[in-house]
């Protein structure tokens, strides 16, 4: 599948934004994050910039961005529509909770706690909807499986945790326990990514050139002549191919920058003082950002669509 920059940026940025937002609210509800005005303010600002930036960028690849509001109408059947609706709904409880926490912390504590919980759930559901847009597409073997929603949720949590840790470190509140949790999530996410690639390399779509043409009973089916000499929309959009050696290199970058470097940096930080660990945390965030963008690029580039079977692909 063609890796569109706007969609890669949207899914990674908004995932990190929702992760951080949910963690900030949950952390405040349970009193795990020190009540410090600027820490919370910058934290919420970063989440909303990532979320809104992502959402806006996702409209850039539309043919008619001015009609984007129509995408909110078909939530009964379409995961893309559900995602749009949830993204907007999530602003309400989380926004009210953030305003409450920042400016009116004394008011309506009980109700606000409940609103916070609703906000956290909304953020999780929104990320889930994003993942389901892909996971619900049956013609794409790499996407229509349970690894995909699990991965989107896991990576959102992971990038949220990394952001939260560096904010805490900047304010001198770094805690070893939260860093250990982050290490654990990084480890699980790394394991998930390796398992996913194993799955991708060892399995393929149930559809074949034989089933695509229905000619299997006569023998092995191979494309003899494409419908035309030039590439068409289908081949550019769905037939995007990446050379094996490139994907191997990019997978390595994903593993090193996305997971292993942040793990090492955090472990190193545990032994250094607050200032040192703050700098290392920032480095971990930058490294993870590079890794996760590469991961998302590969998520598209490595995915094969059944339409390729009509254009000479031996499998999908």
């Amino acid at each position: 599948m063609h890796p569109a920059k706007s969609v890669i940026f949207f899914t990674t940025a908004s995932g990190a934004g929702y992760g951080l937002l949910a963690l900030l609210i949950a952390g405040n509800i349970f009193g795990l994050i020190p009540a410090q005005f600027w820490l919370a303010f910058i934290g919420y600002a970063v989440s909303y910039v990532l979320i809104t930036g992502g959402l806006l960028s996702s409209t850039f690849h539309l043919g008619h961005p001015e009609r984007a509001w129509r995408a909110l109408t078909q939530w009964r059947s379409s995961w893309l529509s559900r995602e749009g609706v949830m993204a907007i709904l999530t602003f309400i409880p989380t926004g009210l909770y953030a305003l409450h926490q920042l400016f009116f912390p004394e008011m309506m504590q009980g109700i606000m706690g409940l609103l916070g919980v609703v906000g956290v759930i909304c953020a999780i559901v929104t990320v889930y909807c994003t993942a389901m847009i892909y996971a619900s597409l049956k013609p794409i073997h790499a996407w229509s499986n349970n690894y995909v929603p699990a991965g989107y949720l896991l990576l959102a949590l992971m990038s949220g945790l990394l952001l939260l840790n560096s904010l805490l470190a900047l304010w001198g509140f770094a805690t070893a326990s939260l860093q250990l949790v982050t290490l654990l999530v990084l480890g699980v996410a790394l394991g998930w990514k390796i398992t996913y690639w194993r799955f991708l390399d060892s399995s393929k779509s149930i559809s074949t050139p034989e089933s695509a043409t229905g000619l299997g009973e006569f023998g092995a089916v191979k494309l003899f002549e494409a419908p035309h000499t030039e590439a068409n929309y289908l081949m550019k959009e769905m037939g995007f191919k990446i050379a094996r050696k490139h994907s191997a290199k990019l997978r390595l970058i994903t593993l090193l920058a996305g997971f292993i470097a942040p793990i090492l940096l955090i472990i190193l930080g545990l032994f250094l003082g607050t200032v040192g660990s703050g700098v290392l945390m920032m480095l971990a965030v930058i490294s993870a950002a590079i890794g996760l963008v590469t991961e998302r690029w590969l998520f598209f580039a490595e995915a094969r669509h059944t339409v390729g079977l009509y254009y000479g692909a031996p499998h999908a």
């Binding site: 006569f218 023998g219 092995a220 419908p227 590439a231 068409n232």
Partner: protein, 247 residues
């Protein structure tokens, strides 16, 4: 509304494509383009048509496949493909805007170009590659089953069939109601064991394909010797013609 019709239509208009007959001449693709560039989803934009990288919107494309078999030898099969107007059309249900819809009255799948935001998701959801993005208009387009031709009261009755069907020089394409078991197309499908493409994708396509007939095998004898057209008892002109032709 991009939910599928709650009461699926009894009428299921669609095409039956005979892979035994198709000669791969691309005439249906050309006439499809010709009709539809002035029809419901007009225009079928071409970008850079005379340049180095021409590309354009086509609703119907003809692939050619080679089928290899050690026992029966290879064979070439020409394979036209357009939208199959699926019963469980995933291109409809994924659409976030309601632009993509399936008609309740006859099962035709269409795009409302005034509502489409050009998100392309429907083209990802169609396993067959039957949707075409128009870069110029910023909207998705697709085979309309010539909805503006098959119901057109200005055309004589016999012309109210899709452009690709009326143009096929060998009659490899048939059009009709596949929801009615007594229609000509349904009978043809039953008689020739017509099948669905990629049934495992569970889209329940309406269009059906008829398999090539088995090759006649065991006829390896050389062609019989040609008999001379004339012998010495023939007349002068006949002998002269014979001499001339066999020179």
């Amino acid at each position: 509304m991009t939910s599928l019709p709650t009461t699926p239509s009894k009428k299921k208009l669609g095409l039956v494509i005979d892979l035994d007959i198709c000669v791969g001449c691309h005439a249906c693709a050309v006439n499809c383009k010709e009709w539809n560039t002035g029809g419901h989803s007009a225009p079928l934009t071409d970008t850079d048509p005379y340049g180095a990288d021409p590309t354009g919107v086509w609703f119907n494309r003809i692939h050619s496949f080679e089928v290899e078999n050690e026992d029966t030898g290879g064979r070439t099969v020409h394979f036209p493909k357009s939208c199959l107007h699926c019963d469980d059309a995933p291109c409809v249900t994924v659409c976030p805007t309601g632009a993509s819809y399936k008609r309740e009255e006859d099962g035709i799948v269409l795009v409302n170009a005034d509502h489409c935001i050009g998100c392309k998701l429907c083209s990802w959801a169609c396993p067959y590659g039957a949707r075409e993005y128009d870069e110029d208009a910023g909207v998705m387009k697709k085979c309309t089953l010539c909805v503006d031709k098959i119901y057109n009261p200005n055309l004589p009755e016999e012309s109210r069939v899709p452009a690709c069907v009326s143009t096929c020089p060998v009659g490899a394409r048939s059009f009709g109601d596949l929801g009615d078991p007594d229609s000509d197309v349904s009978k043809l499908v039953a008689k020739r064991s017509g099948y669905d493409l990629m049934p495992e994708q569970e889209c329940k396509p309406t269009n059906k394909y008829l398999p090539p007939r088995p090759k006649k095998l065991g006829n390896d004898a050389p062609p019989p010797e040609l008999a001379p057209v004339a012998d010495s008892s023939a007349g002068v002109i006949a002998r002269w013609v014979d001499k001339f032709l066999s020179a």
